[in-house]
């Protein structure tokens, strides 16, 4: 990078570099920031939300003056209290849109309420968490269809129900949590459709008992849903969602053990005004892909994730990752992983030769047993592709159907980048986050290759859409240097 003069990209001049910039203030990132600050490092913690907690311990909006506490809200309040007592500088409501290597450390560009800013840091810890995986089904773009994680965000943060009469469908631990929370808060749950069978859950009992309190809460949720007479439909999936400009009806039907729709005579329809749909979590990889870190594919960890050592060191020196972004292990493991990353930063900054020696906290395996069991319920099974009809939109941003995407694959778009050039699949404002996995699975099926061979698309800045005013300083056109035209 030395020969390249990087032009200033912000009117705010970089100040002295901080020791560590942590991106993401969920349980992993906030714990890393607290731990690093406690050891005397200068720390900046940035998050696009308005308070720490991430998704799992999401803070309430400022519109909520008081509300009954829950185990999640208490854990989040404790984290936010410890963070405000620490010396870490917090930048909430700030979005990182670019990370660039410098000769020494990193330049990170953000936008926030006061405009753009640039921070230079000796090290960066990425704690960017997960995003929800949601497989397409006919009608899933209708207003009123939201993610299961979206439902938790609305209920925890805004204290708003997804609807008055809600269908809950998909796979994984958010199904009983969301359904029970809607019921508990006075909404109506039309049904719960779980792609897994009851046996898929019961075989995880030993791992679930590693967190007996949470296992007991889960059993209570199911008991109360049953007592309320709500149909709990195992090995069932959504066939189609219909309505005039918004969700009005959803059709549910049985699936086989590969999650493929079967027995078309056995479907049932429900009148609903909302559907919460989700199929587990996938690590957010856009920042580590943009920086060309090594990634591994492991379905048991949510698929593609940045590769790290035991302490969270990525394949690039000075860049660390912790939390679900480095592979889904769940909320209990996140603070342990945050502390490990802070330890690695401390060791490496003390020992400039590179890999400082230190040992990770040893209990990661036991604290992540529950999380890994829950992730195992969401490993995508290829039969789910059969719920996607040729006319169903796969890429929501670009309005591309399964038929469009498959035509692109057949025409030679057999890598994510080629498919993107060919069809625009994944090129829209969401950055491919909601179509990439489906497109890769379709490519795998059509080419007969395993899904991990399909690979990942290149990620480029900005990491999030941003208005051009946020990065271009004020100027008059007269001030623009205009080179003399080339001689003819």
């Amino acid at each position: 990078m030395a020969e390249q003069q990087t032009p200033p990209i912000s009117p705010i001049a970089p100040v002295a570099p901080v020791d560590v910039l942590v991106i993401g203030a969920g349980p992993a990132g906030a714990t890393a920031a607290i731990k690093a600050a406690d050891t005397g490092l200068s720390v900046v913690l940035a998050d696009e939300q308005k308070a720490a907690g991430g998704q799992v311990w999401r803070a309430k909006s400022t519109a909520i003056l008081s509300a009954p506490s829950t185990p999640e809200s208490r854990a989040g309040d404790d984290l936010r209290h410890r963070l405000s007592a620490s010396a870490a500088t917090c930048l909430f409501d700030h979005r990182v849109w670019q990370i660039q290597p410098l000769d020494q450390g990193w330049m990170v560009a953000l936008t926030g309420p006061e405009g753009p800013r640039v921070i230079t840091a000796r090290t960066v810890i990425l704690a960017t968490g997960a995003q929800e995986r949601i497989f397409p089904v006919p009608g899933w773009t209708l207003p009123g269809v939201i993610g299961l994680a979206a439902a938790t965000a609305l209920m925890k943060g805004q204290m708003i129900l997804p609807g008055q009469r809600v269908g809950v469908a998909g796979a994984g631990p958010l199904l009983p949590f969301v359904a029970h929370e809607i019921l508990r808060q006075g909404g109506e749950v039309a049904f719960v459709a779980d792609l897994n069978g009851l046996a898929d859950w019961t075989k995880l009992t030993p791992q679930m008992l590693r967190r007996p309190g949470l296992a007991l809460r889960g059993a209570g949720w199911l008991a109360r849903l049953r007592a309320a007479g709500i149909p709990l439909l195992y090995r069932h999936g959504v066939r189609r969602i219909t309505g005039d400009g918004r969700v009005e009806q959803v059709e549910i039907g049985p699936v086989d053990d590969r999650w493929k729709p079967v027995d078309n005579q056995q479907t049932r329809s429900f009148r609903v005004d909302a559907v919460c749909l989700g199929h587990g979590l996938a690590p957010a990889t856009e920042a580590t892909r943009m920086l060309n870190c090594r990634h591994d594919h492991d379905p048991a960890l949510g698929g593609w994730h940045v590769a790290t050592d035991d302490l969270g060191r990525t394949s690039i020196a000075g860049l660390y990752a912790c939390g679900d972004g480095a592979g889904i292990l769940g909320a209990a493991a996140a603070p342990v992983r945050g502390r490990n990353a802070a330890k690695a930063v401390l060791a490496d900054l003390a020992d400039k030769s590179g890999a400082g020696q230190t040992s990770p906290a040893s209990n990661l395996r036991s604290v992540s047993a529950f999380g890994r069991a829950m992730t195992s319920l969401t490993i995508p099974r290829d039969g789910i592709l059969d719920q996607i009809t040729p006319e169903t939109i796969v890429c929501r941003c670009e309005g591309l159907t399964r038929g469009d995407v498959e035509a692109g694959i057949t025409a030679g778009g057999v890598s994510p980048n080629a498919l993107k050039s060919d069809t625009r699949c994944g090129m829209g404002p969401c950055g491919g986050r909601f179509c990439q996995e489906t497109a890769a699975m379709l490519t795998a099926r059509l080419t007969g290759r395993p899904v991990e061979e399909i690979g990942l698309p290149t990620a480029r800045p900005p990491l999030r859409p941003l208005p051009i005013e946020a990065v271009a300083s004020d100027f008059d056109y007269d001030e623009l240097p205009i080179p003399a035209p080339a001689p003819l």
């Binding site: 519109a63 773009t141 708003i160």
Partner: protein, 96 residues
């Protein structure tokens, strides 16, 4: 307020305020997200999609999917990250 799905039991909210969405007055609470306020008011369709023309609204509710964008002061912003304040003027994003 309007029979919408706000959770009410033992919840105390900030003062009521109002804003407009495409000219319609929406009652809400200061500081809640515009996405939540519109949903609570029964408004689910926030915009149309540029290619397929379909209605779109809240999807991820956490600033990733960009489905819930509305127009505020000439800019497109994610309504799930925009806080309600008195007098906010918002418009639907449409294409073509």
């Amino acid at each position: 307020m309007n029979g919408g799905p706000r959770i009410v039991r033992d919840v105390r909210r900030s003062e009521p305020v109002s804003f407009t969405f495409d000219g319609s007055r929406i009652e809400a609470h200061a500081g809640e997200s515009v996405a939540a306020a519109l949903m609570a008011a029964g408004v689910l369709s926030f915009r149309t999609a540029p290619v397929d023309g379909g209605n779109r609204g809240v999807f991820c509710a956490m600033g990733v999917c960009q489905e819930c964008i509305v127009e505020a002061g000439g800019q497109r912003v994610e309504s799930c990250r925009l806080e309600v304040r008195e007098g906010l003027v918002l418009r639907r994003v449409t294409y073509g």
